[in-house]
Amino acid sequence: MQRNSSIEEVDSALKLFELENNILPLNQCDEEIYCFDEEVRAQQLEEAPWKSNPHYFRKVEISSVALVKMVMHARSGDNIEVMGLMLGKVIGNTMVVLDAFALPVEGSETRVNAQDDSYAYMVGYLERSQATGQKEPVIGWYHSHPGYGCWLSGIDVATQALHQVHEDPFLAVVIDPKRTMSAGKVDLGAFRTLPEDHTSGSAGVDGRRIVETDGYQSVPLSKIEDFGVHSAKYYPLDVSYFKSTLDQRLMERLWRKHWIKTLTQSPLITNSEFTTQMVNEIADKIDTFNRDSKKGVAYNQILSESDAIAQEIAQGHKSQELKQRLFCKAQGIPNTNFP
């Protein structure tokens, strides 16, 4: 009896649901970006400026949550390619990726292909997202290239071109989880294909050839042909990342706990397998190069690869050395065994 009356009394307590008054204010940009407007979208689709200019989209903005989701999903696949879709919108010539979700596709080791049942999954998933107020449409797909860099293969180009015909605006994102871990830096590329009749020469007009914007883009020997044949059929977009005001506050807190991970994880141990693989790869490439230098292996590519791997090992070693000096030698007794 007492309880029933208490529940009625509490009705006004639902005011606590009304977070907006107490929560830290969103800034104007947060609102613009996180609020989806169907009218704006309809208008964009009608104008479709990307149809007349194949290089219309220049920039990609990826939200923190989408980034972490994609990287984790790519990593969970290990040596298997995984794929998923991204939700987002278009602002001017920028494609904004707000969220991402995984698709139940078991890729083979070298390619992914969306099947019919994954299409059914996508429809079901989107329906649920819409129901909870996440109204953004699919703005592209992502998949992983475990260990062989961010670029589009022939099949990827075909898939992407098909989507750009039927579902534009559409974006392709490639993540390399192995390099991400090896270099301690997110390895991600965003691409759009050029139409069939587009001459490859103009891809370089504004200086954005497919070559690495980010140091190096090494492609394994087995895939060099695939890479070379199709590299003129698409162009990369500038990728940047953003976080909301709330994300930023949260990250400040998170970082107070999270830094421990930076110190405890050793890149040398987690990446040993990948490092070995890379060294083997370099050796193979040098072999091929010595035998036949016209096979598409450029020596400067081998150079940048060996540099990169040496740098990664150096990074891992530096962190070990630092830890050793800090935690094992802090008492001021120099260890003579160590050079």
Partner: protein
Amino acid sequence: MATWNLSTAVIHPLVLLNVSEHTTRVLALTKAGKSGVSPFVCGALLGRQTENRFEAFMTFEFLYEEASDNTSATINPGHFTQRLGQMEEVFPDNTFIGWYAVNTDTKITPAIAKIHEQLIREHPSALLMVFDAALADGTVENSTTQGRSFSLPISIYETRPPERVDSRKLRWYLSKDTPMTTDGGYYVGASANRVGEAQDDSVWASQLAPIQVQLDSGEAERVAVEHVQYVARPTNVDMLTNTRSDAPLVSLNASRMATFLVSLRNALEMLDRDIALLKTYVGEVISGKAVFDPEVLQLVQRVLSNRPVVLDDEFFDLATSQEETNFQLATYLASVTSVAGAVRDLSQRSNTALRRGRNKHAPYVNPVQNDGMFAWGPSMGGIMSAFGARSHFGRGHG
């Protein structure tokens, strides 16, 4: 501190980022008047449970229906089952372990408790995570919140088995200002006395007890989170306009090594800060300014006793020196490769220059006599154009 609890909840950063994104989106939609529902943010936690260790990896959002009087919410079971099925299809290792609700502190409100009552009917072990979206900033608020700002903005509660509870303790239902029972605990599932039971002042109820929270992340997740921390920029006007922002990002031009060392330095800075904090505390305890807390001091003791374990271990030293050798070998190989590359480059260029010179019966020009091998001075340029090969050579060195 009421009861010592053995359960632990391990939270991955993605969970917190998801909740943050959910909150931001709901608020943005509400402000723009497009949502039509009250901004109550709640969803499921997915992860694994091994004995009493709960690990949450990801989330999905609840669909809920509000009662007509706007007072209570009911989780839509159809949406729940479908979404759970979808997530489990892609991430088969994860299952429903609990749910989250967003509040402006980490306390449970009666409304949250009511939803929790619904959920534990089907999932008796469901956890409840309350996310503090106000994120009171320690620097702005008074100094008492300083300590709190170090902690994560969440509390996680588990449901205890029902026990007899003095119904006077449940009076927190009555007052919205102090949504807490008299002994500081939260109770759900209070049921009326069964027939035949003594009609005293107690009822059956389950206590919601806070449990320990830890933060964990996989290697790839750590890299991604660090990326969010240091590379991702807060939303700004640039994003909405079409002009490309030319403001350089901090890490854009820095080498990978520099980026890596900066992230290490940041971590060490935090370590230093925490050690300084402990040192100050211990100092103040000694001088009698701070309260003596045996629990904290025991933790300090434990850290100190762990430290010298690897101080004089020859195997460790051996492993380190092996690693050192590996590292030097790799660097050496890389330099050998680049030297080989440079030599090849040099020989190719000089070969081309010399071969052309001889074939055309031109006077032999020692390239070093001019401004050095690679400085294509006017004289070299002149020779090249004489051979009609200027365009070919000029490309690489212009």
